[in-house]
């Protein structure tokens, strides 16, 4: 069996892990997979899915560039009669899926909620925070930020003041620069809430070189990448959220095969996010 995998972006750390998990699982099962990189472009992804359909694959797995583009992708696959499984990102047309389509993933807002709630707890509901945003307009940025804002607006966390929020495009160096700029402007946040781990790591570097003690600031991210877990080990990073690349990858592959083989399948498979803190760090060190 041949499965086409259309990923939104190869450069992203978490997606790389997800991709490797799909590949590894496919190798174990003797399934042939072909990966494509949409480089963050919806139209490119659309074309790749069309190309897969035209070259006659048995099924397609896609990690969408954006949730709202789900409908167009569904239509292509439906017309070609090819099974389609969305992985990780929840498509906007989830409720109106045609046959032979499913979603396997996690809810971005849940990640933001877990992260912000834990930060709020560590701050005991009061203090000053800055938010590091991912690339503006992306689903991850929107979902995680929205949940974070909701949590901080909640009754328990109202005491936390958001000093500023700016984008660092998911990347470490821009976050390093942004944080340094904040520090020089005289901001002394008690918490840095980041849309992902890479940016959190950049913030840590900036704070460290400004001589801020890592015990005084709560730093949080999402993804639980290797670099992030190492940073947590050394006590720099306080909170991250584990997204099971393994669970999503294997689930997606198995679901698409089920559809292709005409077996019964679930249209919605959720792999929950899990909160990672120094207390349960050891459980995750070996996972990804």
């Amino acid at each position: 069996e041949k499965i086409g995998v259309a990923m939104s972006l190869f450069d992203d750390n978490f997606l790389t892990v997800l991709r490797h998990n799909i590949q590894r699982h496919a190798d174990e099962m003797g399934v042939e997979v072909q990966m494509e990189d949409a480089q963050g472009d919806i139209a490119r992804q659309q074309s790749q899915i069309e190309n897969f359909a035209a070259s006659g694959v048995d099924g397609i797995i896609t990690m969408l560039v954006d949730a709202d583009s789900g409908r167009a992708m569904s239509k292509i696959a439906e017309e070609a009669g090819v099974p389609l499984v969305f992985v990780n990102m929840l498509p906007a047309n989830m409720e109106t899926f045609p046959e032979k389509q499913a979603w396997v993933g996690s809810d971005e807002e849940q990640a933001g909620r877990l992260e912000a709630t834990e930060v709020c707890k560590l701050l005991e509901g009061k203090g000053k925070a800055v938010i590091l945003l991912g690339q503006l307009g992306t689903t991850g940025q929107r979902g995680r930020t929205k949940a974070t804002e909701e949590v901080l607006a909640g009754a328990d966390c109202k005491g936390i003041e958001v000093l500023d929020q700016q984008t660092a495009n998911w990347m470490r160096t821009p976050a390093l620069d942004l944080m340094t700029n904040w520090i020089t402007s005289g901001m002394q946040p008690d918490a840095v809430i980041s849309n992902n781990d890479e940016m959190a790591l950049g913030a840590i570097q900036a704070l460290k070189s400004a001589g801020v003690s890592m015990d005084d600031v709560v730093i949080s991210g999402v993804d639980a990448t290797q670099d992030a877990l190492s940073a947590m080990e050394t006590g720099d990073l306080d909170v991250t959220v584990y997204q099971s690349a393994k669970g999503q990858g294997e689930g997606a592959l198995e679901t698409v095969l089920k559809i292709a083989r005409g077996e019964t399948f679930d249209q919605r498979v959720t792999v929950p996010f899990e909160l990672v803190t120094p207390q349960n760090l050891a459980d995750y060190k070996a996972r990804n």
Binding site: D41, I42, A43, R44, Q48, N51, D66, G137
Partner: protein, 338 residues
Amino acid sequence: MDNVQIEPAARKARRLPADLGILMVLVGVALVFEIMGWIFQGQSFLMNPQRLTIMILQVSVVGIIAIGVTQVIITGGIDLSSGSVVAMTAMVAMSFAQAAGYDRAVYPSLTGLPVLVPLAIGLGLGLLAGIVNGQLIARTGIPPFIATLGMMVTARGFAKWYTKGQPISFPTDGFAAIGNGALPVFIFLGVAVIFHILLKYTRYGKFTYAIGANAQAARVSGINVQRHLVKVYALAGLLSGLAGVVTAARAETAQAGMGMMYELDAIAAAVIGGTSLSGGRGKIFGTVIGTLILGLMMSGFTFLRVDAYYQEIVKGVIIVAAVVADTYRQKGRGKAGI
């Protein structure tokens, strides 16, 4: 002047259209994919109408932009803003194209409008962006690179700001129809034919080439260089607007990140097709071929299951090789180097 000799043979060689070379490169690349298709996949690459359509379909948006960019480059300018203008017009057009009754519409009272409204708004906004580019370049004399770079950043910013990063979705069926099936291909080819005629058979076209070849000479010949440049950039903007509408209709959603780096693909298509960045030279036909070469590669790689990690490496090599092949062919015809 009786002593001016132009040997008929030499002249004939000269009359061979230069863009035939790049057409041969296109055919060459296609054949390589065809042969490798039989070897590795046991099936034909080209004898698949669906694949041929997709091949053009997936580059038609870039192609539409590339046509506008070609005429800009012929004047000796450049347009870096096209990709961002695509995003901006896609967002704004889509916000007036949302289906009736969609409760989260950007303008809840303006849903279910006839398709002409978002189309006109999209084209109009693109045109406006183009006029701003043109006016900046013509009036202030700043380099086109800077003017359109400014527009690139600004239009992208506008697209993000417009709905604070939220995508805009659920268009009316009428709007979605613009991107349906092979319609984008026909739009692309139609635009190509129009601009081919425009550049080759109208004064607009002659002025465009003249300005690029020698702006000073064009001016002393009585051409209003400033005014013409505004027109050229305006048309390029209009086509970016059209591309924005098509891409939004095709994806049935509009997002601030759309059209990222399309300007580079468009410029590449033009240059692969023989348009000279120093101005005065270039043809729409060449740009269409250049666009198709890009499309061919995208389809071909997926078809041959080239590992995504290698795809880009191979793509870079093919682009260079295509232009090198074309350059050598032209040199063979006796052109002097530097």
